[in-house]
């Protein structure tokens, strides 16, 4: 048997963590990336990385509370075992990154400093200035470079993944990819392929994501039978700087360090912001959410900013939607030390110093909570089974998904500073799982018996490429179609979703898909042809865009980032005690009904044309029972007390009723790996 190898696709935090861990386990690794790995999108993450720490622990925090905040913030849509495992690993991961030399900000005594992020009341977030993602990425990049120097990792930068190579038994035996410079197409034999290819923000045209975040790798995998989960859950970040080419992120850490969001009470007040007195400023987040203030979870902050501009007409400017994000009350030295990186971005791109003037910001598409469906194996204690080959495996055996491109950790809404954690965690955790998987195989994908398979798949991709270059000119322009797709998706599927608009968008996107097939290339050359590579990724945006819209249309409820006003559940308005109670009871009935129907993972399967069919899977909520998310809701107190009474009753009757399984939780049905494996 030839030496077994693993192909890691994507060189951001997740891919690098996986490559370095696999190298440590003495497994041969090929690491492939569109861009030099040091230029991956993880570099854009700003604010920090969460974990319980020595200080918060003494204030009552624990791994369990981090887990609880994450599932509550995510509106309970995540399977709980992976999230629990991640929260348990979090402090160890930050310690490891600290050992690798990440320059985390320090306290006077020399310990790691922490700040507070959204959706929690604890200061859990470790940070390196306001470029934490960059610093974590570099630390992992350095380790992978070290492993490369030691001959353990081959690095293929400037290669675009074209799809998995699947044998007759349905097992992934490698992948095809194309070089962006020479346009050469190659088959990479691999005994496991790990996709760590990030999110799909470019489907929305402009977003906070980098230009490599087209979602094409995930799309190319679903077109070979991988399932896509919770596609409709897209995080719209509350604070970004609008721009013609990109919506640049303004980190949540700006609010974590005391930044305040406001608008003038007088619509489009023409005075300079500092001339507007406190009494004439509307700090709408602080007023409406006294407990969390400016640090409510992102989906809520986004909706409030959107609402204050669009529905209440209080946008700072008349011709552009934006609100103030104000740091001017914080001392300059402190701002420079803790937020320098992001202030620099604002200054450079807007030409205004945010230390003197409040920033003007508006929400922007930011993160894909959904992604490739991936499996896991649960322990009796409710965590993940270490080393199980099922962890993070897609429904195609041998094909794994980690980082932002999997769907597992953030449910309906991701908490700030949890994504860096989920990326590094999944990268490290999947290493031993793949090691087990490789041991169970009795062949290597590099064995001669698979040559034919690899050659056939490569020829197929070469034919497709040739066909695209030679296609009769249909007159369509891929860049303009991308703009139209972005406008359509942004209009129908971001902050507020309405069924009529979604239906219309589905039709329009299908039409754009047809038109995209008739693209005329302005470059038909065979050297560094960016035109043809862009057209390929554009075509691959459509399956995911369709799944996203279809999932959003079907899901008639509000959950996390998915907000449909028609299905909103307003709070309890009455002041009469009896009536209040009745309304709260009704509210809880409706909530239970909604969960029975919609507390489910959306799963999309795709036909050969890239059109999705949806099905639903139960969510493992056996560790923390779902409860209403009551941030700022009117009558939240009475709803909460009614809800708690119901839970007590349920536990009491449960104790007298059927005996529970030994691990204290029922095994939920999970989509099985195909039997023909």
């Amino acid at each position: 048997m030839a030496e077994q190898r693993v192909l890691v696709v994507g060189g951001g935090l997740a891919g690098l963590a996986a490559a370095m861990k696999l190298a440590e386990l003495d497994i041969a690794v090929d690491l492939m990336s569109l861009v030099p790995v040091k230029r991956s999108h993880s570099a854009c993450a700003q604010g920090g990385i969460n974990s319980v720490n020595d200080t918060t622990r003494q204030l009552g925090d624990s791994e369990y509370l981090h887990f609880d905040d994450t599932v509550y913030g995510g509106d309970f849509l995540q399977h709980q075992p992976p999230v629990k495992e991640m929260a348990d690993w979090a402090p160890k991961i930050i310690d490891l990154m600290d050992r690798l030399g990440v320059p985390f900000n320090r306290t006077q005594e020399g310990y790691r400093d922490q700040r507070r992020f959204g959706g929690t009341l604890f200061k859990r977030t470790a940070f390196a200035g306001a470029t934490t993602g960059q610093q974590l990425l570099y630390a992992l990049d350095e380790q992978v470079r070290r492993q490369h120097a030691a001959g353990k990792v081959n690095i293929y930068e400037g290669w675009d993944y074209l799809g998995p190579i699947i044998d007759d038994d349905g097992r992934c035996r490698g992948a095809t990819a194309q070089n962006l410079v020479t346009m050469e197409i190659r088959a990479f034999p691999a005994d496991a392929v790990v996709l760590a290819t990030g999110g799909c923000g470019l489907i929305f045209g402009r977003s906070t994501m980098s230009m490599a975040c087209t979602g094409s790798a995930a799309s190319r995998s679903v077109q070979y039978g991988a399932k896509y989960a919770n596609g409709e859950f897209i995080q719209v970040h509350p604070t970004a700087i609008p721009g013609a080419d990109k919506l640049r992120l303004m980190s949540e850490s700006a609010r974590g360090e005391g930044g305040r969001v406001w608008v003038p009470r007088t619509p489009q007040d023409t005075r300079a912001p500092k001339d507007i007195p406190e009494s004439e400023r509307y700090y709408f987040l602080e007023e409406r959410y006294p407990k969390y203030g400016n640090l409510v979870p992102r989906d809520i902050a986004t909706r409030e900013i959107f609402n204050v501009c669009v529905n209440e007409g209080l946008s700072v400017e008349a011709d552009k939607q934006c609100v103030y994000l104000d740091l001017t009350h914080i001392p300059r030295e402190e701002l420079d030390r803790k937020l320098g990186g992001i202030l620099h971005i604002y200054e450079k791109f807007q030409g205004v110093d945010p230390r003197d003037q409040p920033m003007k910001i508006f929400p922007a598409v930011h993160y894909s909570m959904g992604g490739l469906w991936a499996d896991y194996e649960r322990t009796a204690a409710g965590g993940l089974m270490p080393g199980s080959p099922r962890n993070h495996q897609t429904n195609i055996p041998g094909l794994y998904a980690i980082g932002e491109c999997d769907y597992q950790y953030h449910g309906g809404n991701r908490l700030g500073a949890n994504s860096l954690l989920s990326c590094i965690f999944t990268g490290l955790f999947v290493g031993p799982c793949i090691e087990t998987a490789l041991k169970s195989l009795d062949a290597s994908a590099s064995d001669a018996q698979f040559d034919l398979l690899h050659r056939a798949e490569r020829s197929k991709k070469e034919m497709e490429h040739k066909k695209l270059l030679e296609a009769p000119t249909g007159g369509e322009n891929p860049y303009l179609i991308h703009q139209e797709l972005g406008q359509e998706m942004t209009k129908a599927a971001t902050v507020v979703r309405v069924n009529d608009q979604l239906t219309a968008a589905i039709e329009k996107v299908a039409e754009l898909h047809e038109r995209a097939r008739k693209c005329s290339l302005s470059d038909t050359g065979v050297w560094t042809n960016q035109n043809v590579m862009f057209t390929k990724s554009l075509l691959d945006m459509f399956p995911l865009a369709k799944a996203l819209l279809k999932g959003a249309l079907a899901r008639d409820e509000c959950r996390g980032a998915h907000y449909k006003p028609a299905f909103d559940m307003p709070g309890v308005e009455s002041t009469d005690p009896t009536e209040r109670r009745q309304q709260a009871e009704l509210w809880c009935d409706k909530f239970e009904e909604k969960n029975r129907k919609w507390l489910k993972t959306t799963i999309a399967d795709f036909d050969s044309k890239g059109d999705p069919t949806l099905s639903y899977e139960d969510v493992d909520t056996s560790l923390i029972p779902p409860r209403p998310r009551l941030y700022g809701i009117v009558g939240g107190d009475i709803i909460e007390s009614v809800w708690k009474e119901r839970q007590v009753k349920k536990t009491e009757s449960g104790a007298q009723g059927v005996e529970k399984p030994a691990n204290g939780a029922a095994e939920v049905s999970r989509d099985p790996v195909p039997a023909n494996k």
Binding site: P36, H41, R106, Q134, V181, K246, I345, Y479, S522
Partner: protein, 280 residues
Amino acid sequence: MTASSTKRESFDVRILRQAAPGEPSRWETFRIPYEPNLNVISVLQKIAAMARNAEGKETTPVAWDCNCLEEVCGACTMVINGRVRQSCSALVDRLLEEHEGEIELQPMTKFPVVRDLVVDRSRMFRALEKVKAWVPVDDYYDRGAGPRESQESQEERYPLSECMTCGCCVDACPQYSKVEVERRPNESIEEHQARQAEAEKSEFLGAAPISQAMLFNRHATGAMLADDRLNALSGPGGIQVCGNAQNCVAVCPKEIPLTTSIARAGRQTTVHAIKKIFDR
């Protein structure tokens, strides 16, 4: 009257183009309808979409590199109006103030041109390997936190660690020269890269990797490889090649104190050399 207050309908962008390595280069001009608040990236996006030059003739889209568009990844570096910088943070209104009516784009000058504005900067990453720019930890298991560190030390390391390997410092450096090995017919990508690496072996490392060596020598665990790094900095293409022109620090988009790093590297290599004599 400033340029931005002039009523402008369009402006020209002159781009130095090259179809492939070894091919001749030529200038091509594009006419862009003016909008306020454009950056060079959005100009290049418009050029890609229209694929037509200022004379109205169809042309291939200009090839260029980019990713983050917020000056943190380093990909989109090029020479803009004669100065090396990132095209995402190069704002059109300012550029037109610098040079009325026209913007000039060229590929970086010290790296092999792949096509148009795309260059091959793999030499910079190979240099990081030469100076062992990493912390040599035992393993990736849980062994508790890293070394405690003073605020002062963190504030010294953090700016050095912001280096995005964009290459501005070396592109502006008079001591750093271009090394380009032409690809042979039927040569694989890997074979070509290996010959390229061999050819640049004793060439100048440049400011960025020298500064990275200082970054890791400053870290408690990183310093365990300090001697290896100083050997690399004392060898061919090392610190002695620096001519102290100080262009590097002037063009660094992250304002990294590169000359401070170089001075420190000079002191450390001197001490290291003396120590080696006495240790003999």
